[in-house]
């Protein structure tokens, strides 16, 4: 009972203390132009970024003051394309003692993407701003320092918008795609709106705030954590077209895979990997599909037989154009992944049918099956090998 009483007194003190600290930090950061730029405070307060004309060039020139630089493409241009919109990408390295509001001795980066419609910077109308901050946990900066700082930034952004907008709905999204095609753990999505006082027009936005982590291997071989937060503001129309585009992209990938995996009308992921002859026939079909004329095969012998050492399969028909003779070790075959089985078989048939030696036809014809292969490895190396023969 006494403990409960202590707790009842203690909890409000803690929460009151937190809220007081937040307010203090909030006020302090309102005086930092760099922090306000990073958190798009001008948008939440004045609504002068999204759907405004002639802002992108000002943003680019202001960004330099706060230590950002434009990321450029390989050809030197700095306008990127993503789906139906273009974007510019700003990067700021948090090193060189420019810690500003970040925890002291922080190492990390801030990335800001400004999505826009139209062709040029001058005509650009910004439709979405996305920011990612990542900080490294290491000896000088602990995980709790980073987490506390990120919590503050997230609350700052959330409060900036929710003070001026009405909340329509909120939801959570797991495993959403990050700026770098990785995934954020969790993203809170707030649908917000307000009425424009000038023209009574309803402005609807989607505010997303989320976080994630990434492990990187250090020089000592152990791992460090990169903590990340992301926040973005976009019109609900852009959000919907983003979703539609994402769906289209997924469908495109499905079609792409459908064509890649189908050989001789059969999806090789679904083929019977214990029917070696049919697998050899698929290889012959693939040669045909790749404009390679293979000799007429009169002898096709593909059998399971134990082989010495680590050898999974061996070919015996090199330089005998009319015969394909392949032996496969049953135990190692059973233990190999589907991708590896296809990789190994293509290697052996590279010898047998295409008369290639080790060192000819790229990685697929390397002496050893030296790793676990992915389907991408298989398709990439197969393409090189078949192009070598063409």
């Amino acid at each position: 009972m006494k403990t409960l009483l202590y707790l009842l007194i203690f909890i409000p003190l803690v929460s009151f203390g937190q809220s007081k600290k937040f307010k203090k930090d909030y006020k302090k950061n309102l005086k930092s132009p760099s922090f306000l730029f990073m958190t798009d405070w001008r948008e939440s307060n004045y609504g002068n970024i999204v759907f405004n004309e002639n802002v992108l060039s000002k943003i680019i020139s202001n960004s330099v003051k706060y230590g950002y630089k434009l990321i450029k493409r390989d050809d030197g241009q700095f306008i990127f394309k993503d789906g139906i919109f273009k974007y510019i990408w700003l990067e700021k390295k948090i090193t060189d003692l420019n810690y500003e509001s970040f925890p002291g001795y922080s190492i990390g980066s801030v990335y800001k993407k400004f999505y826009f419609s139209s062709e040029t910077i001058n005509d650009a109308i910004v439709v979405k701003v996305e920011t990612e901050i990542s900080l490294l946990e290491y000896a000088n900066v602990s995980a709790s320092q980073i987490i506390n700082y990120f919590e503050f930034v997230k609350n700052f952004v959330k409060r900036s918008y929710l003070e001026r907008f009405n909340l329509e709905s909120s939801s959570q999204k797991y495993d959403s795609k990050s700026m770098f095609d990785e995934y954020y753990d969790l993203v809170d999505i707030y649908k917000i709106w307000r009425i424009n006082e000038i023209n009574d027009y309803k402005i609807e936005y989607v505010l997303s705030i989320g976080n994630g982590t990434k492990q990187i291997k250090n020089k000592k071989g152990s791992y460090n954590n990169y903590y990340k937060i992301v926040f973005s503001i976009e019109s609900s129309m852009t959000y919907l077209s983003d979703l539609a585009y994402e769906k289209v992209k997924t469908q495109s990938n499905e079609s792409y895979n459908n064509l890649r995996f189908t050989i001789g009308g059969e999806d090789i992921r679904k083929s019977n990997i214990y029917d070696l002859k049919s697998m050899v026939n698929i290889f012959l079909e693939d040669c045909k599909k790749n404009n390679i004329t293979t000799p007429l095969i009169t002898t096709l012998k593909a059998t399971f037989e134990p082989l010495d050492g680590n050898t999974i399969a061996l070919s015996y028909g090199l330089d005998n154009d009319s015969a394909v003779v392949i032996k496969v070790d049953p135990e190692k075959w059973a233990n190999a992944s589907k991708e590896k089985r296809w990789y190994v078989l293509y290697h052996e048939l590279g010898h047998d049918v295409l008369n290639l030696d080790h060192g000819e036809g790229g990685k697929m014809m390397f002496n050893f099956a030296d790793k676990e292969y992915s389907w991408d490895d298989f398709f990439e190396d197969k393409k090189y090998m078949l192009n070598f023969v063409k």
């Binding site: 077209s241 469908q251 064509l259 009308g265 059969e266 045909k288 790749n290 404009n291």
Partner: protein
Amino acid sequence: MKKLLNILMILLSSLAFSQFTKHKPPNNDWDIYPETNISYSIGKEDLKEILTLQSLLAEDRVDEMFEMMGKFGYMPIPNNKNVFSKNSINNDITENEIQPFIFIKNLGNNDNFYENYLQVLFSLTIKTSNGIERTLRVNYKQAAQMYNIVYTLFPIGNSYNSLKNTYNESLGLGEGMTMEWVDRYTVKLSSGKEASIYKASNFSKLSPFIKKKEGYQTFVFEGPGKAESTYIYLKKFSNVPEFDKGEYSVPNLTLMSSISDISKTFKPESRKPFNIDFFMSLENFNDRIWLDN
């Protein structure tokens, strides 16, 4: 007199009746549909793009094919496997225009054609209560007009090889007939004041010795790349409606690239891979006769 009057009455009423019950034959073009002026403003460009995609498919250059699809503005149709259309996202479409829908299909294991091929349905953009939409079912007039537009996209002529092998010294000319090669790709046959001109084209009609696909107009495109040639099957326009409510299907094209010739002497290794930039840079389909190496 009364009898005559009765006969006249019966005759008149039967005439009138027959007028009202005159059966509408399926091919009769009653003017119940408004005249529409259908256009295909980028038909030639679309066909060039379609031939590029088919040529890349025939060389199994799937990565490049998808890259080009994106560049040409094709987007997958949601919830449809391997179906693509142009301008799906920004919906930049105008009324009464022809727009292609591309289906990527697989023929399976066979010795004559490369297994992946394209089927193209030429849709029509129409005004509906939801705005401008694409339709694959049109009325008789629209179908006939669209078929003619698509048919005339192909500059059909003579295959360069057959022109060269036919019109040479060994050709037995009739009395008073002369033969003159006007340029490398044009031959003129004259008899008195009458003259016929034969031109080489990359598009020709199927040889009479090859079995034709029932219900289709077949053209052969002898173009660049490793495929021996590309067979283009345009579904013939039929006067009979294909759907309920008297609706007709839009023009339907199937493109299949052949692996070898009839004698099986052609080897894909003898040809260079399809050069996308060069092909796309040509203004007209016959600016380069591909069989003339």
